[in-house]
């Protein structure tokens, strides 16, 4: 019988593999490793250790793998399909309300101006599509009408995407980029919501999965997100100048990051949600200028397409992987490893 110490070392190395992989292969791999171990050895060789670590990395980094394996990701996407549009709408509303309450001091809020008159009919329409689209998604999601909600999000994303692309060549209004439009979180929200609504069991399931703590996190996240909206920023700027705006925005950004971190550390389900809301947070931070809007990851320029394309690529990976999994499950016969 091989030394017990060697098996302990192997088990320790196998912990680097994802849990679902270990559940499937760990005992079998241990058998292979122990069968192949040189007699008298009580520690794995460096080459063997490196091979196991690389194998674990390969599996963890496999495109799409971590995105939607098993029901865990479907449930996370279901929660996201319900909570994300709600978060966007609440935070936008809080930002707008704060600015409107300050109306007499700072004039109408940016959102009100965009919804009424920006000097460009196309911009006004886009603003209505952006906000109205999110409102419609929330209502349809609350009613449990998943496919209608997905259609609303998709049409909204398509319209805003086309408008944004057209604007790259023919500016809709001098000096007003499309990202100023409250395109709720710069297209990331409607695109990611469409994906979540299409590939998950739907918002009704998401609502069922939300416990009291999840609601508390949603409220806290909405409040932090609200502090990062342009309207709220304008209120802060008018109230205390650039330093107050900057400090409050930094604090709100930190809160967003801490909330995502808390979600990440809470559970496996929390990790999935943290990833999904992290995608949304990218759009949010982009809106507030944390990410240089004219830089390679920003929203304003042709170069800004890089960041959007990355998000679209990640979401496309989710769709592809989920579609392939469901196709395999539907058409599968005989014993399969997956």
């Amino acid at each position: 019988m091989a030394p017990v110490g060697l098996e302990i070392c192997y088990r320790r190395l196998l912990r680097w593999f994802p849990a679902e992989h270990r559940a499937l292969y760990q005992e079998e791999m241990l058998g292979v490793l122990m069968a192949g171990a040189e007699p008298g050895r009580n520690r794995p060789s460096r080459a063997e250790s490196a091979d196991l670590l690389l194998g674990a990395a390969r599996i963890r980094l496999r495109p799409g793998r971590a995105l939607c394996d098993g029901p865990g990701w479907r449930d996370a996407l279901a929660v996201y399909s319900f909570a994300a549009p709600l978060l966007v709408l609440i935070s936008t509303f809080i930002g707008w309300l704060a600015a409107e309450l300050e109306f007499t001091r700072i004039g109408p809020s940016g959102l009100t101006m965009m919804l009424t008159d920006t000097g460009s009919k196309a911009l006004v329409t886009a603003a209505w599509v952006a906000i109205g689209g999110q409102g419609l998604v929330v209502v349809l999601a609350l009613l449990g009408l998943r496919w209608w909600a997905a259609a609303a999000a998709a049409i909204s994303a398509l319209y805003l995407g086309v408008t944004a692309i057209l604007q790259l060549y023919t500016p809709l209004s001098v000096g007003i980029p499309i990202s100023m439009l409250y395109v709720p979180f710069a297209l990331v929200a409607p695109i990611s919501e469409t994906v979540a609504l299409l590939v998950s069991p739907g918002p009704r399931r998401g609502r069922q999965l939300m416990r009291r703590r999840a609601w508390a996190l949603l409220v806290a996240g909405s409040a932090a997100a609200a502090a990062l909206t342009r309207d709220f920023g304008l209120v802060l700027f008018k109230a205390g100048g650039e330093s107050l705006h900057r400090n409050a925005s930094l604090l709100a950004g930190l809160v967003v990051v801490l909330l995502l971190l808390a979600l990440w550390l809470s559970s496996a389900h929390g990790k999935r949600l943290a990833f999904l809301f992290g995608v949304l947070a990218y759009g949010l931070l982009l809106m507030d200028g944390f990410i240089d809007e004219s830089g390679p990851w920003g929203a304003d320029t042709i170069n800004g397409a890089v960041g959007q394309v990355l998000v679209i690529f990640l979401l496309a990976a989710v769709i592809y992987r989920t579609w392939r999994r469901s196709r395999s499950a539907a058409g599968g016969s005989g014993q399969s490893l997956t």
């Binding site: 992989h21 499937l24 292969y25 005992e27 079998e28 791999m29 241990l30 058998g31 292979v32 490793l33 122990m34 069968a35 192949g36 080459a47 063997e48 091979d51 196991l52 670590l53 690389l54 194998g55 674990a56 390969r58 599996i59 496999r62 395999s328 599968g332 005989g334 014993q335 399969s336 490893l337 997956t338």
Partner: protein
Amino acid sequence: MQEPSFLILTALAAGPHHGYAIMNDVAQISDGRVKLRAGTLYAALDRLSADRLVEVDREQIVDTRLRRYYRLTPAGRSRLAAETARLRANAAAAAKRLRLAGN
């Protein structure tokens, strides 16, 4: 297709094998040039099974340890045949050019 995957499919083309047997067979097929280790083998098997090119044939408990046998699926067999034809065509093209060059 990467070489380890090709060699694993080649090993399984002869019939169902368990993990350790696949490792030994791959070493033999490649004249000892490719020595698969467990990490590489199971990452490849995981990928191949996700692509439905291999599947579990049966499971055994040997000395209290799980031993799982894998076999090629029909899709795996077709894929291996296609890959073999591709490699053969490449090798033939290379050989022809080497002959033309007088090497």
